[in-house]
């Protein structure tokens, strides 16, 4: 299901052609907004901005599935949390929040044998309500999470791992660290493929995974993971030898074959991003209430 998430999409769109450092820079105001902004309208604007970049990047439709599933799941869980626990969790004084409807009143605890006290314990003795504030909280958190997920995914989908590597080492991160991270990313699809093969092999030997039985899930996972890890270690040893024979670890300054070129378009865009970031910070500091910022 998650095949294709966080994987490069081969294309030559205008987003692909941008200098990766500019793309990294663009993440700055977007993520700043995701963290600082709390207004639904503002956040919606940012989400639609990020999604319009997806269209510009010409991401094929099949690649949207995984990200939409994750987005949906997380939003459901945020809403669940916001609806059921906002009231109990934050200990708002009675009357300060707008209760739309009661789902579980503390009085009901007595009529429900085991579940009652348990729910009471979870909610700090206050019960469960659907409150307007809880719904707002769920929406805002979903939007913030989506912005972070969508924008970082877009960065990876439109930038060659090699270029990410280069731009990270340009800002001072050691090559060995970035290389390890990138190799891990490169092998994700291979390892996933192998994981499915091992699961299939187990099912081909009569293992039925009962979806709701923790013991069965545990048994399936431990056997699969052992095999998977042994295979990964074997593969890593070969890769290490292969890298060694190609000079990895030579005591010289590594040179990069590809150069990251800053075109005029890149420079203009970087300037625009910096101006936008400054404006956002000014708005955040001086007009937080008008623009949906509350720090």
């Amino acid at each position: 299901m998650f095949r294709g998430l966080f994987q490069y999409v081969d294309s030559n769109s205008s987003i692909h052609r941008l200098n990766p450092q500019v793309k990294l820079l663009m993440l700055l105001p977007v993520l700043l907004l995701a963290i600082a902004a709390n207004g639904i309208v503002t956040l919606l604007l940012v989400v639609s901005f990020v999604l319009s970049l997806y269209l510009l990047a010409k991401i094929p439709r099949s690649r949207y599935r995984a990200i939409l599933v994750i987005g949906l799941f997380s939003s459901l869980s945020f809403f669940f949390f916001g609806m059921f626990f906002y009231f109990g969790f934050y200990q708002h004084p009675e009357g300060t929040i707008t209760i739309l409807t009661w789902i579980f009143r503390p009085e009901q605890a007595e009529t429900m044998p085991i579940l009652g006290p348990f729910l009471l314990f979870l909610t700090g003795g206050r019960g469960i309500v659907v409150a307007q504030e809880g719904l707002v909280w769920g929406t805002v958190t979903t939007l913030k999470f989506s912005i972070a997920l969508f924008s970082s995914n877009l960065m990876i989908m439109t930038t060659k791992p090699k270029e990410i590597l280069l731009s990270l080492s340009k800002i001072g991160i050691p090559v060995k660290i970035t290389f390890v991270a990138m190799t891990a990313l490169r092998f994700v699809p291979v390892v996933m493929e192998e994981y499915y093969t091992i699961m299939n092999a187990q099912q081909a030997r009569g293992l039925k995974i009962k979806k709701l039985n923790p013991k069965s899930i545990f048994e399936g996972l431990t056997t699969t993971l052992t095999t998977l890890i042994v295979n990964i270690i074997k593969r890593a040893r070969i890769l290490a030898l292969a890298m060694e024979t190609r000079g990895f670890g030579a005591r010289v300054q590594k040179v990069s074959y590809e150069e990251l070129k800053m075109t005029r378009r890149d420079k203009t865009l970087s300037a625009a991003i910096l101006v936008a970031t400054t404006i956002i910070i000014i708005l955040m500091l001086f007009y937080p209430y008008h623009t949906g910022f509350t720090l």
């Binding site: 039925k208 000079g247 990895f248």
Partner: protein
């Protein structure tokens, strides 16, 4: 010419081992040579490759005695990255050696690490791409390449270090015939046009002998023959044991004929063989004239009609991205059959096998087994009747001991304890794994692992057993012992389906051969009928077994193996005499 690579009294012991892995190796390779190092599995070929390139002793520990000189430099005194500029190494599995995303980056990886000026890197990448003819694919992603192309990329990435010597460890073992030819042609170009000394380690020799100039044979860690290819293979040193190496059939047959006194010289290929014809049999005539059907003993016995175990009806499969993998496949599998499904890489063989095991759902058509469509039977339930082993045994062994591994299946079938126990013992005996009963499966050799993977499925007593490429990286004695065990089972009614691109395997063992190309069945039938149709096989990028040509040259009806030919000749003689 001087030796560019030489070893002196080289001994090596793996850490913890008591026996030598390499014993007294004195190898001299001249500049510009194309050398083959051949030997059965476990003879120390790969260990030798690691020694030649300096990975032993620089990276891999163990006890090494003696010296290895590469272009006059002692491997003990140079670090791997320095040595890499004199000698390059390409490992067996190309996939595991790729560290960058696209072809160009992969090739630039080495020179980048050496910290060369950018212009020099570009120059080297360009040259390496030219040498392996990959210019058109330079921006392609390595995971989208074919097997042969991946190997060429790895070779190019080694070339960009500008080595004088290139060592390749079994580069052909996972490739189909087209891929093999591609790599051998590339190596020939590197050797002849670029003057690179090539050392090729292989045990699959059918295609190789036409390319190499010299050969060294390795057995139990020792070099037992070394010299020009002709000498090594023709001077009668090739006793029975060496036939394990899968030598060309022309060589095998000529050896038989020389033994019988029918031919005077050994021949390495079909052309040489033809030059020795016509053959005069002891009865004073050529086989062509003495032939009659009764003398060949080829009439098959008619067996009573059987009820098919599995019926595949109008099966099609389309991948998510719209590629059609299989189109309108119809097959019936009868009890006791030994079917091989042949095709080049990407023909749709594995897809068909996985559909048969219920791991994929057909886009169209159906597969009927146990009186019902298998799409409606769960994977785990289907496992009782259709057993499946994957290409890579590492992916299907996940228990702590061999015994547990075999018991895994029966245990999930809810059998009684006694029944499980009985099946495990029975399977251990049948697959000759008794002495490994308590070993960790991961410590077994590849051949043993394949045997265990098969055993772990057999213990569920399936009616159809599907094996995906069980012969990869195996020498013939191991393949033969596996097949022997399988044939015992098939006498009891088990139907065996083997997916492979190894045509000699089909020729030797199958009772029925199915050829698949581009997702369609081209031919389906008795092996002699199918495998002698050279043109159809060529259209599926397959090479008919050497014996088909040899048999034709001798004027015999379609023959599939050297044994068949020599038996046929014997029958003719007996009938005539």
């Amino acid at each position: 010419m001087a030796s560019i690579l030489s070893t002196e009294n080289l001994y090596y012991t793996h850490p913890g081992a008591t026996q030598y892995a390499l014993k007294n190796i004195n190898l001299q390779v001249k500049e510009g040579d194309f050398t083959l190092i051949a030997g059965p599995t476990g003879s120390g070929k790969s260990t030798l490759a690691l020694c030649l390139t300096g990975l032993i002793p620089q990276v891999i520990v163990g006890d090494m005695k003696g010296t290895v000189l590469v272009d006059g430099k002692d491997t003990k005194q140079y670090e791997v990255y320095q040595m890499a500029q004199y000698i390059g190494l390409v490992f067996q599995n190309a996939e595991n050696q790729l560290c960058a995303l696209d072809v160009e980056d992969e090739i630039a990886f080495g020179p980048e690490n050496l910290g060369l000026p950018r212009a020099e890197i570009e120059n080297r990448v360009e040259k390496a791409l030219n040498a392996v003819r990959l210019n058109d694919l330079r921006h392609k992603y390595t995971f989208n390449l074919s097997g042969g192309e991946k190997h060429k990329t790895v070779i190019a990435s080694s070339l960009s270090m500008l080595p004088k010597i290139l060592v390749l460890d079994e580069p052909l073992s996972e490739l189909d015939p087209t891929g093999c030819q591609e790599i051998l042609r590339t190596l020939k170009i590197l050797n002849e046009e670029y003057g690179i000394t090539v050392i090729l380690i292989e045990h699959k020799l059918e295609h190789v002998l036409g390319y190499v100039k010299t050969a060294a044979l390795l057995k139990d860690g020792e070099i037992v023959a070394h010299g020009p290819t002709d000498e090594v293979f023709k001077k009668g040193k090739l006793d029975e044991e060496w036939l394990d190496l899968r030598v060309p059939e022309a060589l095998k047959l000529s050896q038989e004929l020389v033994k019988k006194g029918l031919m005077s010289n050994l021949t390495l290929n079909t052309t040489e063989f033809e030059a020795q014809l016509p053959l005069t049999l002891a009865i004073g005539t050529s086989p062509k004239n003495a032939i009659n059907a009764s003398s060949l003993g080829l009439q098959g016995e008619k067996s009573p009609p059987k009820i098919p175990l599995m019926r595949i009806e109008g099966l099609s499969y389309t991948y998510l991205d719209g590629t059609e993998a299989l189109e309108d496949i119809n097959l019936q599998i009868l009890p006791g059959e030994f079917i091989t499904i042949l095709g080049s890489n990407g023909a749709g063989k594995t897809t068909l096998a996985r559909l048969m095991a219920g791991q994929l759902k057909p886009s169209k058509g159906r597969i009927v087994m146990n009186g019902g469509d298998i799409a409606r039977q769960g994977k785990a339930d289907l496992a009782r009747t259709a057993g499946y082993t994957f290409q890579n045994p590492d992916n299907q062994l996940f228990c702590r001991t061999v015994k547990d591994e075999i018991a895994f299946g029966p245990r999930h079938l809810n059998l009684s304890k006694e029944e499980t126990e009985a099946r495990v013992e029975n399977t251990l005996r049948l697959m000759q794994l008794e002495q490994f009963r308590d070993r960790d499966p991961q410590t077994l050799s590849r051949g043993q692992k394949i045997g265990l993977a098969v055993a772990s499925v057999l213990s569920m007593k399936p009616k159809v057993l599907i094996l995906d490429e069980p012969t990869l990286g195996q020498d013939s004695s191991r393949i033969n012992s596996l097949v022997g065990m399988l044939k015992t089972m098939s006498k009891e009614g088990l139907a065996i389906v083997v997916i492979t691109h190894d045509i000699n395997f089909a020729a030797e063992h199958a009772s029925r051969v199915v050829i698949i190309n581009n997702g369609k069945i081209l031919l389906d039938g008795e092996p002699h009928m199918v495998l002698s149709q050279e043109e159809v096989l060529h259209s599926a990028s397959l090479e008919p077994p050497g014996s088909v040509r040899l048999g034709k040259l001798l004027g015999l009806p379609p023959m599939l193996t050297v044994n068949e030919i020599s038996k046929a000749l014997q029958n003719i003689e007996e009938a005539g005499g």
